[in-house]
Symmetry: C2
Subunit: 350 residues, 2 copies
């Protein structure tokens, strides 16, 4: 077997671990379940699973277009945002060319770069935040794609509209800029970027979002990218014909209509956030204020050992060792009951 | 936007066209629907769609292992076989290196090669059959992967166990040989290869199969590759963490237990095959005897025009122009009623 060095260099992804029956606060899933309108739509579609999905995702693209007030040509769905990231590196990165991102962020940007034999350069995070100026400084003629997570996973921090506009002005137009907004629907900060409004001015901007988080459809796998129609048409060439399964398409289109569920999820998240902030403060733990549905919290001890001890107490969270942090956990904001169970367990192990 | 030549060269896939209400015999789907045990399993799983799928597909791999009498390390599921093909080119093909296949076969082998900037060399088909000797002759030091379809799509023909064994002996062990067996469960020929039995001797052999065809789960997207554990472990590095959705995993594992549905599908296919052979003979049309759930038939006229005329009469089939054939159709073997409707329409347009 003749292997390729770029593929050999890929480390296997470490998914959130879950023990049957445990409270799972490890993977930033929606603790309220799935959007009910999505589930009803799935139910109605089960009799046609012998048929291939619509390869063009026409109905879902139309629903996204309506939701955002754009035309369908601005949208391309994928088998989760993960697949979108590799559409992007397939389309823009040749072997040896550069992908630029930050330390302490989502690992799939690096995976997507490696898959196409790209190199990856990281600007350091500071105070849990993407340092856009540091990233801009690192752009070279070899840079093809910049991946930004806003809010960032695992820190939950964000960059502002002004910061983003400033950044985009500094980036050459032939460098593609990806704003990964998987958690955008949870954001409450008033100065969070309206990135969709920047698309017309910045033809090199790509925005990714997902149905895995607030819509509660992680199990079905569906994310999407928004960009100018020429970019979308080009990315579409990198896509397998039937990449988004039929139930995912149906569920996602229906979920967009279920803003009642979205609102309920936001309310739960805000209440949980407030509770967890107060408890962390009471316990003397430093955390980053979050715009997402999870919190990055320093625990003053080895995170892998703490993770194990919490799991023994029936709560699973994400130790951040694989993100390069030894003494912090990422905990998903759950239901009030789940949050209380987590705090009770955490208190016991501190 | 700086594009890549290999991506620009990708022509969009032409999916089977379907008009609402028409008889669809265009995409080799199972006309009897989905395996009932798969549907029951899906139903039971709908309440957990907010959770990520098992990235490791543990239950499905265990079910495949039991079904085939191997260990789970021999199996890797994908988002349809389509995704498996790009795992293979990601893992083995560098820019400029060669993928080898036949003319008049499934287009996704070419897509997978182009995605990773590989070149594609085609040996000519003869009498609708893969010419293994011609393929073997074309192997060069630049050849990394050979894609074989057995049975072949769109001709339905197959190569025998003796032919395959002879071919494998001629191929250098550093060239990976893919036997795409999407339609294997429909095969009735006694001398069809037992490719699984060849895995121990040929470490460079990969076998792909799917749940989209006889199991009736095309809408859910799940295929798999069988190979030696070292090959599987290496391919696994090219995989996104959650590539197979939760319902697909559940349905596929349950479908393997539904051999009653498989048997019923085989019986329907054999009856339809016999009927269509007789009708084609009566109409004076040449066809290739098939080992799959579709038939390649020459119609003595332009296939795209014929396709359109048949669609106007409420039947959709696949014109083979995109496969490079101007005067033939590929028709899926349907239910008796669908087959009759197709023949009635065909007779009218001849």
């Amino acid at each position: 077997m003749q292997t390729k060095a770029n593929i050999q260099s890929i480390a296997p992804y470490q998914p959130g671990v879950w023990k049957e029956g445990a409270v799972k606060l490890a993977s930033n899933e929606n603790p309220l379940g799935s959007a009910p309108q999505a589930l009803a739509a799935v139910q109605a579609k089960l009799s046609a699973l012998n048929l291939y999905p619509d390869g063009g995702c026409a109905r879902l693209r139309a629903a996204l277009a309506e939701h955002y007030g754009k035309t369908p040509e601005y949208f391309l769905p994928g088998n989760g945002s993960d697949e979108i990231f590799h559409f992007i590196t397939a389309a823009f990165v040749r072997p040896g060319e550069q992908v630029l991102t930050s330390t302490v962020t989502f690992s799939e940007y690096t995976f997507a770069a490696r898959l196409f034999a790209g190199t990856v350069e990281y600007a350091p995070l500071a105070d849990g935040k993407f340092q856009l100026a540091e990233i801009a400084k690192r752009v070279t003629p070899q840079t093809r794609v910049v991946f930004l997570a806003n809010p960032n996973n695992p820190t939950g921090t964000y960059f502002t509209a002004a910061e983003f506009a400033d950044f985009l002005r500094q980036i050459p137009e032939e460098v593609m800029v990806v704003s990964d907004e998987a958690y955008a629907e949870y954001v409450t900060a008033a100065d969070y970027p309206d990135s969709l409004g920047l698309l017309e001015r910045h033809k090199n901007l790509l925005i990714t979002r997902t149905f895995s988080k607030i819509y509660g459809l992680a199990g079905l796998r569906v994310g999407y990218v928004m960009a100018n129609p020429e970019v979308i048409a080009y990315l579409n060439k990198t896509r397998e014909p039937f990449n988004v399964n039929a139930l995912a398409q149906t569920a996602a289109a229906a979920a967009l209509g279920d803003q009642e569920f979205v609102q309920k999820s936001r309310v739960n998240n805000e209440a949980g956030k407030k509770y967890l902030y107060a408890e962390f403060t009471r316990l003397g733990l430093k955390y980053f204020p979050t715009e997402a549905n999870f919190i990055f919290v320093y625990i003053g001890q080895d995170c892998v050992a703490a993770f194990q001890k919490l799991m023994d107490k029936g709560v699973t969270v994400r130790p951040l060792k694989s993100f390069g942090i030894s003494d912090a956990l990422r905990v998903t904001i759950g239901t009030p009951e789940q949050n209380q169970k987590f705090i009770a367990a955490l208190q016991e192990i501190l």
